[in-house]
Structure formats: C-alpha cells, structure tokens
C-alpha cells in the first residue's frame, strides 16, 4: 500500500506530472521570450504559458459534426499519459542508478511514440481534410527521423553494452560522459536534430504548418482538449532534453547543490541549442525533411556507429 502511494506520488507530483508540467511550461516561456527578443519583440511575461492554459480550460469544447467523438476527445489524454509515464521512468532511473523502474531504453523509445500517436489519431478523428493531412505529415516525420534515431541511440547501447538505464548511467559514471567520445558526440548531435523533430518545432513543424494547413491535426481542437495537447507538448520540452542528458551527458545527480546546478547547465545548453536551431531555419517541406533525415543525418549516425565499433 505504501509502495503504491509512493508510486502515485512519483507519477502525479514529483518527478511525474506536476513537476514536468511546470518546468516544461517554463521552458516554453523561455523559448517564446528568446524567440521574441530575436525578432525585436518584447515577448510574454513568465506566467504567460500558465495563463494560456487557464484560459483554454475556460473555453467551450467544440467537436466537429460527425467526428468520432470518443477518439477525438480521448486522443489528447493518451498523449498526456504517455508523456507523464516516460518522464517518470527517466527521472526515477536518474534518482537511483541501481533501480529498475518499469522499462528500459527500448520501452522508452516506444512509449515516446504515444504523444505523436495521440496527435495522429486526434487529427484523423476530427473529420477535417486539413487535420488528416497534418496527421499524415506527423506520421511521415516519424518515419523520417526514426532511422537515424535508432542508430544514434544504439550507438550508446553499443558503447555501454546494455539497454538498461542503470548500466548506461553507470558506464558514464566510470568512463566519462558519452559526448566526450567522438562517436558519442556524433550520436548526440544526431539525437538533438531528432529531438527537434520530435518536438515539432521549426524547421520540422511540418505537421502543424500554420500558414499551410492551419495547425493541421490540432485545427479542430479547442478548450480543455487543446489545453491537454499544449500541456503534453510543453512536457516534452522538458522530457526529451532530460532523455538526452541521461543518454549522452552522464545523467542527473540531484543529491547535492552542485549536481543540481550542473543539471541546470546541461539542460540550458540543450534548450539553447534547440531554440537556436529553431530561430535560424525556415520550415522544410515534407519530402525535404524525409530526404534530410534518410540522407545526411542517417549517414552521420552511421559514421558515429562505425566509430563506436572501432572504439573511438
């Protein structure tokens, strides 16, 4: 019973839902603020993402005529549940390296598709042609980045010899961070580009492409359902960088102040890189993105993997 309570606490409050949501929303604020400053605008105050969310909760819910209502309203929830579960797993393995909690690296890779699936099925269920196009673009984007992502992630597995997070972290504790090696650095760069696509930010905001398909899969959403989507998107802003830190930057140690500062530095570096890429690139077309990921990015990932085989 006590274990169950602790599990629920971990899932709902810390480090699961509430913690990830708050930090994620703050991260989206940083993103918006920096983007605004780059464009010589003032930018929103820090509480703006929270205010947006509260506003959406007060709006009415509109369901398109003849849409599959259960899927339409259920899809955002699945995305939220998936994001929260991934966040909990990654944090729990970082808190104590020896612990095995729910899943390994392969499980996390597969759970990470749940938020994307939520967008796809939500868009598909909304009976809107533009949403359907958005859903298909999201799926194509998954196909595009999956290939280099597998190679990058399994470069880590090749070096550490295990798919367990505990062993991956233990290896880095003993032998230094993954990015300190040549192959690890290459894999990190590849994974960073993939994270950009997983977050769906420029240059990979193809599934939403406001100017082309009017937010695509999210077009028909409003009110609380849209709020849940925005929330899980914000959580991914936190979860994916933390996954990168776990795999490539030696993980997180929150047991002393220096560790916390060190983690914040790592997180800020990754967030800065993401925002930098976002603000210096135009959106790609779908076929360009597919060619980009299956061409140069996969080649880079393959080079990284081969270097890891040689032992660099």
């Amino acid at each position: 019973m006590f274990d169950l309570l602790r599990l629920m606490f971990a899932f709902i409050i810390m480090p699961g839902f509430l913690f990830t949501a708050v930090v994620g929303l703050l991260a989206t604020w940083v993103d918006r603020k920096v983007t605004a400053r780059v464009q010589y605008r003032q930018g929103p105050p820090w509480f703006q993402p929270f205010a947006d969310l509260a506003k959406l909760l007060g709006k009415e819910t509109i369901v398109p005529e003849g849409a599959a209502k259960a899927v339409f309203l259920g899809a955002p929830l699945i995305g939220l549940a998936g994001a929260t579960l991934v966040s909990t797993i990654i944090w729990m393995v970082n808190f104590s390296h020896g612990v095995t909690f729910i899943g390994d690296l392969i499980v996390v890779l597969y759970l990470l598709t749940l938020p994307s699936l939520a967008i796809i099925f939500g868009g598909s269920a909304s009976r809107n042609p533009l949403s359907a196009i958005g859903a298909s673009r999201e799926m194509k984007l998954i196909l595009a980045y999956e290939l280099p992502f597998i190679l990058a992630v399994f470069t880590v597995v090749l070096r550490t010899g295990s798919i367990m997070f505990g062993n991956i972290l233990g290896y880095q504790l003993a032998n230094g961070m993954m990015i300190q090696s040549c192959s690890g650095l290459i894999a990190f760069l590849v994974a960073l580009i993939v994270v950009q696509a997983k977050l769906g930010v420029v240059p990979f905001d193809i599934p939403e492409a406001e100017q082309e398909i009017a937010a695509g899969a999210l077009l028909e959403y409003s009110g609380p359902a849209l709020a849940v989507y925005k929330l899980s998107r914000a959580m991914m802003y936190f979860i994916l960088p933390v996954l990168l830190i776990t795999l490539f930057m030696g993980g997180i140690d929150l047991s002393f102040w220096g560790g916390i500062a060190w983690f914040i530095i790592k997180y800020v570096i990754i967030l800065t890189l993401i925002i930098l890429i976002k603000n210096t690139n135009p959106r790609l077309r779908t076929d360009q993105a597919v060619r980009f990921f299956w061409g140069p990015v996969t080649a880079l990932a393959a080079i990284g993997f081969i270097l890891a085989m040689v032992g660099w």
Binding site: L57, A81, G103, I106, I133, M139, E146
Partner: protein, 593 residues
Amino acid sequence: MNDLTIAVFAPLIMALLCFVFKRAAKWLALLVSLGIFTLAIKIFLAGQLVSQFLSLRAYPFSAGIFLAAAFFTLLITLYSFKYMEGKERLGEYYAYILITLGSAAGALFAADFLNLLFFWGMMGIPLYMLIGIGSSAGAGAAKKTLILVGGADAMMIMGIGIVWVMTRSLQIGPSPLPLNNVYSIVAFLALAAGAFAKAGVMPFHSWIPDSAEFAPASVMALLPASLDKLLGIYLFSRICFDVFQIVPNSPVSLFLLACGSITIIAAVMGALVQHDLKKLLSFHAVSQVGYMVLGIGTGTPLGVAGGIFHMFNHAIYKSCLFLCGGAVEQKAGTTDLEKLGGLAKFMPITFTAFLIAALSISGVPPFNGFISKWMIYQAIVQLGKISPYWIIWLVAAMFGSAFTLASFVKLTHAVFLGQWSETTGKTREVSWMMWLPLAVLAALCVVFGLLAAQIPLKYLVFPNIQFYRFTGVWEPGMATLLLLSGLLLGLLIYALGRVKKVTVKPAFTGGELLKEEEIKVTGNEFYDSIKSWGPLNLIYKTAEKKYFDVYELGRQAAFAVAGWLSWLHNGLLQTYLVWLLMGLVVLLLFLAR
C-alpha cells in the same frame, strides 16, 4: 482410440459428413471444432502423449500450438455463420475448414517425417479450395498458391531424403545434426523452404497477397494469418533445433537473419502503398513472419522464445484484423480504401477491436505485440557481443516496426476515422456472432500484453526453451496502471474545464462551403511524398514489374525453356533432318575418339 488419433481423424471424418449434409454443415463444424478445442485443452494439460497407431506424439510445444489452432478454428467457424450466410458451396466451405483442422493436428503430432509430409501436403488441398471458393476470379490465385506451396513441399521431400541418407532414420529428432557440411546445409534449406512457403517468408510469400484479393476474410484469418503461420513456424523451429542445430553467429544463422530482415522491410514497404484493406493486411501477414524468423534465427534462447511468442501474438492480432476487415466488407460492401471512411461511429465494437489489434501489431506498449518484439530486439542486442552485423537486423526490425505503425495509421484513417463516404452513412454494427470473435481476440491481445510473464510465456513458451533471461526490464502491469492514472489525470483536467458543455459544429475548411466528397482525404495518398524518394521509387517500380516474385520468375523461366523447345519443333522436315545429321556427327566424333 487415443486422444491424438481422435484429434486427427474426427475432423476428417466429420468433414465427409459436411459434404453430404450441406444444411447442417455449419452446426456440425461448430460442434466438432468445439469438441476438438476441449480435446486440445485435455491434450495440452496432459503434456506428453503417444499414440502407437500412426506413430503420433504430443509434447508441450506441439500441444500448445494445437490448442491455439483449435481455438482459432472455433472462433472463425462461429464468425462464418453470419459472414458466409447466403454464399454458395457452404457445405464444402465448412468441410474444408474441418479438413484443415484435422490435417493440422496430424502435422503437429507427427512423430516421423512421413506422417508429417502426408498431413503437411494434405493441408494444401483445403487451402487451394478455400481460396477459390469466394469467386471464380480467385482460381488464378489458388493455382499460384498450390504451385508455390506444393513446390516447396517437393523441396521438403528432397530435404527429408538427404536427412534419411545421413541418419538412416525418419524420426524427427532426437539427436540434432550439426550444420557443418554441404549435405546437411542443403537438407536444412530444403526443409526450411517448406516451412517458409507455408508461413510466407520471402521469397515464397507472393501467394498470400494474391489470394487476399479473392479469398473470403474468414479464410484469410484462418489460414495465412493463423494456422499456416503456426504450422510453418512450428516446423521451422523443429528443424532449427530438433533436426538440425543452429549455432548463433554461424553462416546459416546469418542467412536466416538476413531472410527475416528482408522479409520485414520489403513486405512492409509493399503494405504501405496498398489501396485495398484485405491486401494491405496480407502484406503484414508476410512482414510479421520476418520477426519470427529473426527471433528463431538468432539461435539464442531469448530470441527463440521471442520468435515463438511472436508467432502466437501474430496469430491473435492478425486473425482479429482480418475478421474486422470481413466485418467492414460485409457492412460497407467493399474493401477499397477509397470508398471507406468514418466507420468508427457506426461500428464501435469492430473499431475498438481493430484499434487494439492495430496497436498490437505496430508494437505499441502495453499490448502483446510489443513484448515479443521487445524480446527479439534484446536477443539481437545480445548477439552484438559476438557478431558485428547485429545493428543491421536491429534497424530492419525497429524501422520495419515504424513502417507497420505508418500503414496502420493509414488504414485506421481510411476505414474508421477520417471523413465519411457514400457507403458508410447507413452502416450498423455487425451481428454478435461476428463481433464476439473479434472482441475475444482483441481481449486476448490485452491479456497477453499485460500478463505476458504470468500466462503465455509461462505456459506456451517457457516449457519449450531451456532457459532464458531478459536483459532489459518491462513491467506491463505497473506501466498500464500508471498509463490509466495518466488518463484519469487528463480527465481531471477536462473536468476542471468545461468539457461537459460540448458544442457540435461542422468541420472548419477555411470558411469555404465545400462538398465533403470533393475534399476527402482517403489515406491512399498519405505516403506519396515518401514513395517518390529516389531509391524507394526505384524499388517500387521494380516490384510492380514482379521482379521479386519467385512464382512469376519461375513462370517466366518455364515459358522461356518451353518457348525454346517449341521453337525447335517447328514442323519442317528439313530442320529435323539437320538436327539428325548434327546428332550423327556428334555421335561419330564421340565413337572415333
């Protein structure tokens, strides 16, 4: 009479009655399959059984597969009541189902190669007849099936012959031969060809997509999706570990891994571009075998366990998907993706079952397909310690899984979600006799996913593998608990907001008043921008010319040889005289040597 002999002969004898009493055939088939299912439970619980008559032998592995086979036959017979209602040749239809069940029992319980070969070959006959039973147009596909499957059986005879020469025994097992010389490798490949043709591994796969166009969905669910898969992989694992011995990282193991990887990727690529519900599913019936071959081909206990578990899982979700396809076909009158759409609202049970099965086959946790794939991935990663090629198999398997997801996203959109079409406006849910089998299979997907270690792995897989240990960790029960609490959290957010007050408005199409038919996104064009990518485009073009189809290649070769022969026999006396003279000269030269 022994239980095993009853399991083999009761369905065969009852099938004869079905031919005679056409009206009662369906009830007879249901009763017999129910009886055989209870018998299968009894055999499974007994574990080991031997019958002197015909030398039949049951042990946990074959008994487990027979249990599954009888279970699928029972469900599909029930489904056929309504699905096949009003069709012609119903007596024959049920008779062939029973013959399939009986000969499957014979092949599974055969203790020596002769019995195996007899029943194995016998299974081809109902397959041939059932594919052609739907329409006269199916005759071509049925012929192709017969030639491919029969041809592979002929290769099996050769393999058995070589094994007999080497061991002077026709017993399957018990002392496995090492794969270290040319004879045993040839014998292995010949036997594997028989198993591969039944299961649909490339290059013997092309009968499955072809027959999917014409055969009834229930036949597809019974044979290529479940029974043929179960038997093919059963035989394959028997020859890999009882007749011969696969060593990890040996040339044969690498060959099998390559076969599995190519099957996964090539078939899933084929599935991605299909425009027909049943045909798309049939390509996945090919693609998924790749995972089983990949798992068993690793030769490690974990990989074999994963491969065998995947076989059971695949049979469950793939027959569920075919049965859903049949339900859609019956209600909408078509399986053309262009003409379907928006059925989720009208057929909620079918849709839910389809969605669960689709997520299972795509390997989305926490459903059953994920666990077996996860085991196979681990086995491949383990292989990395002794072989540098593991990443190729791993990328093929994981990337293939993404493509599987993509084609099921397309299918779900085109059939159940998306916009309506003219056919879907007036549909209703199918009768309980049809949705009950779907619901049972979908529920099994969930149960096998959540309680994998407690039920299927413990009773169906573990007794046959010496010892295996996971290298990763996956706790489906806890994960599902947390996912459900995540859903509750989301519902709480909905409750905080004003989700109760739902307004229904027409979809927004840029403020234009457009007719729905004009702006329908069917899903067929979902992946066109991927298809047009240079290398893929080339592969698709080559595939369209049927360069990857063994049957087509064989046909062309046969016609080329026959054409040459008929060119020789042109009926002119002079030509024949020239040939005679030339022959005489050759003979003289030979004699005067």
